[in-house]
């Protein structure tokens, strides 16, 4: 049930209206405004992720980089299918396990099609308004992958690989949000919401950070998606969960995870796949990738242990679901920082992640009273933001093996405070768009589907039967 107070929510309507008009008009002025947005004054670590215009001398294909990016792509897809699916699946009641697997699977397929139709072009190709250097959304020049052929390049590896690699990010981000609405949402609502969300939230934020947009030009550091993936998914999840309402039985009468073993298997696959996520974001088979992999792993291991010890102290026993949740917290937090911090910096990040996210789970559910069922905001949202902010200091050269952060127009490195300001700006902008857009999309989808929540009867019966006509465990 939604309690609406009209006064409070007039503002978001206007903000959203403004944002949508902004974005639509940006799309209207398409790639024929071939104005060169020159982001080259900002040499930041993530510049390797930005699309290079293949108009001047074509770069020769580097087989090593190509091979690695092909592999990384597979690893990141593996994170969603089946990593995330199993991780989430084990956490719900057995009568809903198939619905969660279905959500992840169907969203992955839908996101793939949307990505090649409009997503890639809007997220990662030149856009912007005329001469204005601040870009809000990409162009429509590569809608339906127009102009992309086997020989097309992105730097020194094929553009097809780049499209695929980035696609797996566009797949997992809406899939993360699944955790917020399990056990009570309509399947039609899932599909409609995820599709719209991808276009209206993911593509713009991706463009801002990785497509050469305004955040990239400001020098934001988000190596593999602290802002683009985790902050957006977390903020949207929280908003959606709040609007959807709680599961029956929340908070005192819930059923425990039906398969903690499945949760661990999923988490393990996420860990392995995350090497593709972070190390692949180096877009090269080199030391950057190697260090990204190293720090990713260190953060995961540290956060796992920290979470385990906290839980041990607080509840008397170290749990499996707990330790693997710590793993994910560590992985999400290191994501934006994985290109800039050193191993010891990763230890700190992991430790902070385990600590903060542990208490964030309780905060969202107990203090805020929001049934973000699988803690998307507390783990991914909080983690992603945390890492995005911490890299300001821990990424500095000279700090615990940091590898350098952004430079300003004069070529001087930003101080950690200046960097922090940029990072915070990025987080806030991403969160603002996520919250407002999610709110509006849910309103639209709710109108179209006659309410995004299933009936009480269906919720009791279980979504596997009610929505999908299948039984998760036909044990004879």
């Amino acid at each position: 049930m939604l309690k609406m107070e009209t006064l409070k929510f007039l503002k978001p309507y206007w903000m959203a209206f403004f944002l949508i008009i902004f974005n639509l008009s940006a799309v209207a002025q398409n790639a024929s405004s071939e104005t060169d947005l020159e982001p080259t004054n900002v040499t930041s670590v993530e510049s390797v992720n930005m699309v290079e215009k293949d108009t001047v001398e074509p770069t020769p294909l580097n087989n090593g980089n190509t091979a690695w990016m092909l592999t990384a792509t597979a690893l990141v897809l593996f994170m969603t299918l089946p990593g995330l699916a199993l991780f989430y699946g084990g956490l719900v009641q057995s009568k809903n396990v198939l619905s969660v697997l279905m959500h992840c699977f169907a969203v992955a397929c839908l996101a793939s099609i949307i990505w090649i139709a409009v997503g890639y072009s809007l997220a990662l190709t030149q856009g912007g308004f005329g001469e204005d250097a601040r870009g809000w959304i990409g162009g429509k020049g590569k809608f339906f992958l127009n102009g992309v052929f086997e020989e097309s390049m992105n730097g020194d590896f094929p553009e097809s690989v780049w499209i695929m690699f980035q696609m797996t990010f566009a797949i997992i981000t809406p899939a993360l949000i699944v955790g917020a609405f399990v056990e009570r949402i309509k399947f039609t609502a899932v599909m409609l919401f995820s599709g719209l969300w991808l276009i209206v939230v993911y593509c713009p934020v991706c463009y801002w950070v990785w497509g050469g947009g305004w955040l990239a030009q400001a020098g934001v550091i988000d190596f593999a998606g602290g802002i683009v993936v985790h902050a957006t998914a977390g903020a949207s999840a929280l908003t959606l969960a709040w609007m959807l309402g709680r599961r029956s039985g929340f908070p005192r009468n819930l059923k425990p995870p039906h398969s903690p073993g499945m949760v661990m298997m999923g988490a393990a696959m996420l860990w392995v796949g995350w090497f593709g996520f972070n190390a692949g974001s180096a877009a090269a088979a080199n030391g950057d990738a190697g260090m990204a992999m190293l720090v990713t792993h260190i953060s995961a291991a540290t956060a796992s242990l920290v979470w385990m010890f906290i839980e041990w102290k607080k509840t008397g026993k170290p749990g499996l679901v707990g330790i693997v949740t710590g793993t994910i917290a560590g992985l999400a937090t290191i994501t934006p920082a994985s290109g800039a911090v050193g191993p010891m910096g990763a230890v700190i990040i992991g430790a902070v992640a385990g600590l903060v996210c542990y208490f964030a789970c309780g905060f969202v559910k107990e203090k805020l009273g929001v049934d973000d069922s699988l803690d998307v905001a507390a783990v991914h949202g909080v983690g992603g933001i945390l890492g995005t902010l911490m890299v300001s200091y821990l990424g500095q050269t000279g700090v615990l093996g940091g590898q350098g952060i952004s430079q300003n127009e004069d070529g001087a490195y930003l101080t950690w405070k200046e960097q922090f300001a940029v990072q915070a700006e990025g987080c806030l902008a991403a969160i603002a768009l996520s919250v407002v857009a999610t709110f509006i999309i849910v309103k639209i989808v709710s109108a179209v589907t006659g309410g995004i929540r299933v009936s009480e009867e269906d919720e009791t019966k279980g979504l596997d039967q009610a929505a999908h006509g299948e039984n998760g465990y036909s044990l004879n």
């Binding site: 908070p251 005192r252 009468n253 819930l254 059923k255 425990p256 995870p257 839980e311 509840t315 749990g319 679901v321 707990g322 949740t325 542990y358 208490f359 789970c361 309780g362 559910k365 107990e366 803690d375």
Partner: protein, 112 residues
């Protein structure tokens, strides 16, 4: 004939089966059950949220025996299933009107 229903702790099932076998009872029906008595449930904690588990896993064992064996069977069951802790379970005895062996049609005590 008597139907003897025993609700016991699941890990005691093997001991019970062996003990009954020793006194000549070779057949039984076993159901997985859940329940509680004075042994209350417990609380599990995942990610900071508490989950109260009221029901505990139990096993329900049913044997039908001739009247003259009933007392011996009950004693055997009690001895085999006892752990001397709360939650050991209970035994109930009900009268049986008729019994039939499906394959042969034998009735009464010959069907047992």
């Amino acid at each position: 004939m008597k139907l003897i229903k025993s609700i016991i702790k699941p890990f005691k099932l093997e001991d019970l089966k062996d003990a009954l076998s020793e006194i000549g009872i070779e057949g039984m029906t076993v159901l997985e059950a859940k329940g509680f008595g004075r042994q209350k449930g417990h609380t599990e904690i995942y990610r900071g949220s508490e989950y109260t588990i009221d029901f505990l896993p139990k096993v329900l064992v049913e044997v039908v025996v001739p009247d003259d064996l009933a007392d011996k069977v009950i004693d055997t069951i009690v001895k085999a299933a006892k752990t001397e802790k709360i939650g050991d379970g209970k035994v109930f005895v009900l009268p049986v009107e008729q019994a039939v062996r499906i394959r042969t049609g034998e009735q009464g005590e010959e069907a047992l």
